[in-house]
Point group: C3
Chain length 368, copies 3
């Protein structure tokens, strides 16, 4: 009843270029610290069940077939062909791709080609800083090169993204750090790191956030369970309140990614602050058969013009499929129920579905 | 199936006396920091959709009609007549009215008259203290006048209410402050404030809370998203646990307002402490089509004799209507489902519906 | 449709041996600080309604009959016979029994006999330490006797359990305390306590946790609302993250009990760490008619091989019945809905139901 003809995936990653066995495929279904417990498998999760529901038919198999059978068919088709079939079956017409993950993942252009879709790049701030640090000799050159890199990235990318929450936690001082503070922190960090060393210094994380804000490009902030972190409660988006208030009226949009299990707090911020938007996708991939429940919770406080779809998929094209299908079905079920109850009109429901699926993302990221 | 013939709205405000245009009406649909984001409107929220569902028929229009059409009809009838029709269509027979908000809002007597209902006053502690400060010359006279004002208010009002959570956060020291501490804080506050200056000093906020407790009148505490605050997590009702424990057995009832998104914590406190009660209304206005979900979450831990309906409405009579209708429909759906599943008997469901709708409030506030 | 033929209750207590009147029965329906508020009764709670739904038929009465009638019938049959009928009607075939509560409760052997089931003992660490302290003269003998007691308990018991969250909060330093630190804390505690004095010293609580971890026996950690606590937020399982990380790979399984209202955080830890498991029972007894909602929230992030059923029942065999029936019905409703929607296959749903009901517990606790 409720249709969403075109999807803009506002946050995802590329897919792996290599063939995967049962164990390597399974390892990409969830983000864990360690292998599955003896006697258990990550296929026995909501994400695993959702993959088995939605993906086999795209490769010519029946839904819910056994994992080994699915993977045999996947290898039979080859990683390229199965990737094409999956991505083209997802319903996604535009991918916004965070290229800041390690691993042999396809670039936005390849993803676009495989999926017969558009693709644009999202630049991950922490990786940008780490790459600049790898090639800068002094604090001065690091900071100058970083400024230049942010500026250059802003010219090409569609958004910046930050995993400050996973690196340090979101309880960061809200105001921009002063120049001396930044120089001091940069000096300590550069002195102590080897090549590829991760950035987790709170002063430098804030410097990155404010550099991104100054660029005017939308800034995506990971919150909740999106990225593996130190401790979940340190990524509660409520901790961003003062930063959000400090950046109000500057003309830069913020987008809170993931959010779950604090998605009601993220939705609240989107309701209170004009420049804040909220993601409603990646959490659904984790929630699987519960996707409609989580989506409906986001729809409590977030204005409908401030909610954006994503898959958060990384590595497996199956996750792009699952993210897109779960979103579509959950949206149809939630809005369809409200229409059936008389709470919403059908015309409003159709309109809101289009906003979440693509129109809000097109407006925020300036896509046409 | 489940009927709630009479509603006591245990917490609301008056309505605006002036005609409203599309923009001024929209601004009252939500509490935001700033205007709606470009390309969005606050009508595209759960509250906005709920207003469009329930209110047009009360003014002779079809449900879900366009906002501009609704407002044209509202102006055609005039603010007085449309207010009368809306309030009388809400099903509310008693309004408990917090008179402590600024703005040109109707007094309890006017609200009663417009709504053909009863109305009683709730006194907001912080405003009372600010008014006393405006007219007191010294610390001694301020404290003496404050004590007298609390005493006088207790004689006429039906409850006190406090927004200490929005002013400072609910993580207040649980015990009453000592007299010297209060005098010191009062001195510093009075010295630093201009006329109308807001009270946010934690010692004085605690002094007010304990003055109210001493009066024996029920004390309503704003928690969660009820009042615009510094940061949502600082209004988690769990932060009140030690204050709740300190006030147990003193004979004064506490009522936790709003609570969302921490309403499960509020419900828990109502389950553990005999003198604690929990609101189940204002959150529903924000949740709109999700009202049944939120109400059911409150009904998990809160004893059914401790849950009280409210609308939390302010400014627009539409919000009184929406609060009342969403509550009634959500209650009917939740309890009706449980009866259909065999979990509850119909007689119990009817009895509990009456308790939430009015009987609990009548008992707690001593209404007859 | 979804069947769970056999239930392993992974956490419960014995039942009272004495006849109960209306008031004493009511007091066991909920854990409160004080008697019910005037004008209210604890029968008017989800747990009270669930007891009235499921238990009267097991004693030959109609569901939802009045509490007084039910209790009259219970007394007519006698506490022993009514206990037998209730426990045998619960569907539980194995009880894991925490024997660490005060009061005249049946031992595991008696519970097994009354319920025609198996029973195994769970040892509560804090009680063990308190009993050792009661009979040890010096710090040295206390620590030596404690080590011996833990060792002896590990030989017979099926698990250890800790209420450190209720005693101190779960924000404990994650690493094991050093020997000198333990000796110092033990000296201070022993010097200050009388016979039966409760253990709440954080160093000794950590010493107990690490002693249990060293034993290799599964360690159950109370979190959320399971045990009456100082403040709910201090029992959020997210606070255990660093302890969980510190105990990863040591070969000892952790089981997070209760969890509600932070059960999504508990489920997340079970999803991330191979050795962490999550309870899905005791919260359902509190949620009553909302049990399916709470269960579904746990099923969002927790892998299906890591979720274990319990009742958390104590004192009243009615609570064992209610825990078991609510779990079975909620599981059937949640999984049945997902099958009907096509999200899960029926075969998977049956398989997962068996895992939650008994197989996961059999694997974790080494039952055969």
């Amino acid at each position: 009843m409720i249709e969403t003809p075109s999807l803009v995936d506002q946050y995802c990653h590329g897919v792996l270029r290599t063939e995967l066995g049962l164990g390597t495929f399974e390892a990409h279904l969830s983000r864990t610290e360690g292998p599955p417990a003896p006697g258990t498998t990550l296929f026995d999760t909501q994400t695993g069940f959702a993959v088995r529901r939605w993906c086999p038919p795209l490769l010519g198999l029946e839904p819910h077939c056994a994992p080994a059978r699915y993977l045999a068919r996947r290898r039979e088709l080859g990683v390229l062909e199965s990737g094409r079939r999956l991505l083209r079956g997802s319903g996604i017409t535009t991918y916004l791709v965070d290229t800041g993950l390690p691993g042999d993942l396809t670039e936005p252009g390849e993803l676009a080609c495989a999926g017969a879709a558009e693709a644009r790049e999202i630049v991950r701030l922490e990786l940008l800083a780490e790459q600049v640090a790898d090639t800068s000799g002094t604090v001065e050159s690091f900071l100058a090169n970083l400024a230049e890199s942010v500026h250059a990235a802003a010219a090409n990318a569609v958004a910046f993204t930050s995993v400050a929450g996973a690196r340090h936690g979101l309880a960061l001082a809200p105001e921009p750090p002063g120049p001396g503070e930044v120089r001091g922190a940069a000096g300590r960090w550069l002195a102590g790191r080897g090549v590829g060393g991760e950035l987790s210094d709170p002063v430098l994380l804030r410097h990155l956030l404010w550099s991104a804000v100054a660029s005017g490009l939308p800034l995506q902030l990971h919150a909740g369970l999106g990225a593996p972190g130190l401790r979940t409660d340190r990524t509660d988006p409520v901790l961003l309140t003062d930063f959000v208030r400090a950046t109000a009226g500057l003309g830069t949009d913020l987008v809170l990614l993931h959010g779950y299990p604090y998605h009601r707090n993220a939705a609240h911020l989107a309701g209170v602050f004009p420049h804040v938007h909220v993601d409603c996708g990646a959490a659904l991939v984790r929630a699987g058969a519960q996707a409609a429940t989580v989506l409906a919770e986001i729809l409590e406080l977030a204005p409908f013009g401030k909610i954006l779809f994503s898959t958060g998929a990384q590595g497996l094209p199956e996750l792009h499929v699952v993210g897109a299908r779960l979103f579509r079905e959950a949206l149809g079920r939630v809005l369809g129920t409200w229409v059936a109850e008389g709470a919403w009109s059908l015309a409003d429901a159709q309109r809101v579905a289009g906003m979440l699926a693509s129109e809000n993302a097109r407006r925020v990221y300036g896509l046409d």
